[in-house]
């Protein structure tokens, strides 16, 4: 090898290293890849005509033959034949249709605590429905078989809004949850059901990622009684790479729910190596206190490997306890730990006297020390929606 050849080879090698170095721009401080997983529109994937379980969208704009859905911040711009990111909306003949109306693929009766909602009519049962679709692409989704599917791809039962309400009444259940997948994607079905439910005094509960635009949310709030909304992290990059969304619209949702007086609780899944930075949790709590106040409960859930995120360990209990400690120290009054059976973090403690006001054993309520929504020990009002406790 001549000197010239050697130098040429060395230069080639150096270029390779430089290219590799450039790749680090896509990675975080720990050297992990942080790539956006935002969903894409399905071009030409929609059906030719609406099916039985279709309804024209409630919030969309027309641009000639094209339409733009205005329900969520994805604002999918659909040409004729296209399908939205959430898979439930299609442009058929210049109109936006929802294909998820009256065709729930999951119908169950759950304890309200399962949502999780700890300050919303404890011990009550809730009629829970889901149609397919999601505007996110969470790598750890536990319901991916319905959230990441098109309405035509799943088996469903037929329950139009009036039938949902009738079924709920028949079972003598006081509330309906729009849950499991992402209810924002079957917005029309949800709001029509909620309107009918409100008429017969059945409560409506939204369990959601909170990725919704202001206008449809304000309309929905008229009929909502409670909500559990995920605050998946307090970092836009993590939202982009773990969930395929962005943080700000979710924060806006919390503010709107708060302003509209809808009772809501927040849930954060503590995903190891992603959502476990104490500083981020402090910032998150700071924002909550400033914008929403200390009274909305915050649930930290333990992560277990699911769906595509199977190469991470379960969240250490110590990490969850640390998160809870930070949130309490920052001033949030009610901080719970979920997916950790038997942990003291599942109990409701009065934020004033710190005594147990609701003693839980899983979904079972063993003791209630509340009198008309106030702590039975010190009389401090406990925020929430309290009703008659079921035996």
């Amino acid at each position: 090898m001549t000197r010239k050849e050697f130098l040429r080879t060395a230069a080639l090698g150096a270029s390779v290293f430089l290219c590799a170095g450039a790749g680090y721009g896509f990675m975080d401080k720990k050297g992990h890849r942080r790539e956006s997983i935002r969903g894409r529109i399905f071009k030409g994937d929609g059906p030719e005509k609406p099916w039985k379980w279709s309804i024209e969208g409630f919030f969309y704009t027309k641009h000639g033959d094209s339409v733009q859905c205005q329900v969520c911040p994805n604002r999918c711009f659909l040409e004729p034949g296209d399908r939205s990111i959430c898979r439930s909306k299609v442009n058929i003949g210049g109109k936006l249709y929802s294909l998820a109306y009256g065709n729930p693929c999951a119908v169950h009766v759950d304890p309200i605590e399962k949502k999780p909602l700890n300050h919303f009519y404890p011990r009550s049962l809730i009629f829970s429905i889901a149609a397919t679709g999601c505007n996110f692409r969470c790598l750890n989704c536990q319901n991916w078989e319905i959230s990441q599917k098109k309405p035509e791809e799943v088996e469903h039962t037929e329950l139009f809004p009036e039938q949902v309400v009738a079924e709920t009444q028949k079972r003598n259940i006081a509330s309906i949850a729009y849950t499991y997948s992402e209810p924002i994607t079957y917005y029309e079905y949800m709001i029509d059901t909620a309107k009918l439910a409100r008429e017969v005094n059945i409560k409506n509960v939204l369990v959601s990622n909170g990725y919704i635009n202001q206008k449809p949310l304000l309309e929905l709030c008229k009929y909502l009684d409670g909500a559990n909304v995920n605050l998946k992290s307090f970092d836009n990059d993590i939202y982009r790479c773990l969930n395929g969304g962005t943080l700000q619209p979710v924060l806006n949702t919390f503010k709107t729910l708060h302003e509209q007086g809808v009772w809501f609780e927040m849930t954060t899944l503590v995903v190891p190596t992603y959502v476990e930075d104490p500083e981020m949790i402090r910032r998150m709590c700071g924002w909550i206190l400033k914008e929403l106040g200390p009274d909305h409960p915050l649930h930290f859930l333990r992560f277990f490997p699911r769906y595509k995120l199977t190469r991470l360990p379960a969240t250490p209990i110590a990490t969850l306890e640390k998160m809870r400690g930070i949130a309490l120290k920052e001033g949030i009054h009610y901080v719970y730990l979920g997916n950790v059976p038997g942990h003291e973090g599942a109990q409701t403690y009065c934020h004033n006297c710190h005594k147990v006001v609701i003693k839980r054993n899983g979904y079972l309520i063993e003791a209630v020390n509340l009198k008309e929504g106030k702590c039975a020990f010190c009389g401090t009002p406990i925020p929430g929606r309290w009703g008659a406790f079921r035996d």
């Binding site: 990441q148 199977t310 991470l312 250490p316 110590a318 038997g342």
Partner: protein, 699 residues
Amino acid sequence: MNFRRLIIWSIIGTGISSVTTQLLTIREFLTQFCGNEITISLVVFCWLMMSGLGAFGAKVLKRGGGRTYALLILIIALWPLIQVIGIREMREIFFTHGISPGFYPILLYILIVISPYCLLTGFILPYSQYVLNRAGYGFESGDLYVTDSVGDISGGAVFSFILVYWLKPFPIIAVASSLLIVVGILLLVAHRQFFLLAVAGAACCVFLILCASPHVEKSTLVGQYGSIIQHIESPYGRIVITKEGPQHTFWESGLPLYSDANVIDVEEKVHYPLSQINHPERILLISGGLGQTLQEVFKHRPAHVDYVELDPAVTHAAEALGFIDKWPSLSIIHTDARRYIKETEHKYDAILIDLPDPHTFQLNRFFTDEFFAVVRRILKQGGVLCLHLDYSPNYLSGIRKKKLSTLYNTAQRRFEQVLILPGEQAYFLMSDRELNADIPALLKAKGIPTVYIEGFYYGNVTADRMDQLHDRLDPHESINTDFEPRLMNIVFEEWFNQHGTHPGWFFGVLAGLAILYFVFMKRAEYILFSTGFAAMGMEMLILFSFQIIYGYIYLEIGAVVTAFLLGLLPGSLVGQRWQSGLRRRITGSEMILLCLLVVFFAWASYMKMEPPPVCFLLFCFVFSFFAGLQFPVAAKIIGEEKSPAAGCLAADLCGAAAGTLVTGMVLIPLWGIRAAVIFLILVKISSMILIISNPRLGA
């Protein structure tokens, strides 16, 4: 220094290095992605394909000499270390941290990472022939094949029987590359390339230092695993133990096997079956005995518990860290559980199986009709067997319906009562006694306290959910057997579905490329292609059949591979000696290969007996003997002038790649062992027809 001898040693060294690197690479990828037959097939396919492409490249290259050759073999010697580090480190660059990627990303990643090495090793063999011929030494394709086989056999045997037991991957690479390094250095000395010698010497020193340092090896795993406190390379896979705060996590082949305080999982798998039995005397636990599992089992006060775990490294590490409590009535047995069940004299009140979904033949053996029949033998009257499948509590998809129905129908053939409890997973309880789904009530009656079941069971496993599940089971779904692994096929389908991909495009493109290749290849090359296809297909069949019957495939995989390689060597030596009657000889070998395939089909279809392992090894040897025999004969039929080693090697390697992929990924999972053999018979018949229809071939 004798130039010819050095080149021959380098060919042997390349064989040793490439086989060792291939086996190490498979193991690495198994820990990076889903550790099943798909990954194995993809790695072997990409390996053979890129090697074939490398060999093809040598066909067109007509320049260079000893110096270039020396540099290339030194690169081949050092590259495996870069490759293994690359596999580990680039994962975090290619994929989101913690993710299990889908089919196409895996394929692309494998291709990118192994291509440089495979292209080089594929290229170097025919190139060595070119270098020797250019230097005036006679060296035919058959000679090359024989010499390479010697290296392959040595590499396979040394890795499988010695290195894998004693060393971690980096030192193994150093040992496997040592011969090539020495030969490369000697070649540079022979060519008086002292500047290059100095550079190569320095590179080799750095290489050896990196290979010898355990800290370097451990540091390459940190990105994937985090804070590692222990790292064990057992013959069964990689065990890594990490610690985040006070929590330990055991990782087996890249997946978290156990983390502290998973109460839900532990209570479900232990108490659902044991609550059914009032006073269990003897309990058998198959896998999953770490952490609180045994504590929960002993709440039922059994007289004795046998805990069977295949890999001693798991339990030894767990015991050392206090994750298996010392109970006087606990026996830990290290063996294949199915084998244990077949041979034990004990009778059990309950058998608890805690294994993942059957995504390999090894696992599928615990979900089959044959297995349930064997279990019945050791289960006491009224005893309970419990195992589980992945399940989504809120919605039962079409694929999961098929999966649960298949296992349900299979279990119903052997047990009068089969109860599915839709917990976090779908738990199957099987027995001849009445089974009760009210687990909290049963536990209360036994006075056994729980945390999860007591508080959550009635909210999660509701009568509604159980009814919905049972109503949707399909009684017409087929059953799962050892040789027709229906459940494994469904799990594969589920995996593809989960990632929203389908391998159809991949196979379509491959079929197109194969047709193009067939159009341009010589007829005798097709015989080699078909033999490569049948040989690798048969190797996969033997491996899977062996796994079905004996289970302990990880220990014996080396024996099977070595038996195959051992057959190739004398086969090619015999073929090399023949100078005349080539047509008759190749026709004869084709007939014998066909007969062997028919014998295997007859065994898999009708005999169902379990021959001793040595019979499998003997069969491997005989099959590969006749496959190996064909290479030099076909090369002579084509003629060295028309197609030197490169063309024959490319045909052989491409056939082997296709055989691996089609047999391992399509035929066996989709249609079972018998269908796969029939396909191989058809492939060999096609090459027979080719010979018969071309009277001039080899005449």
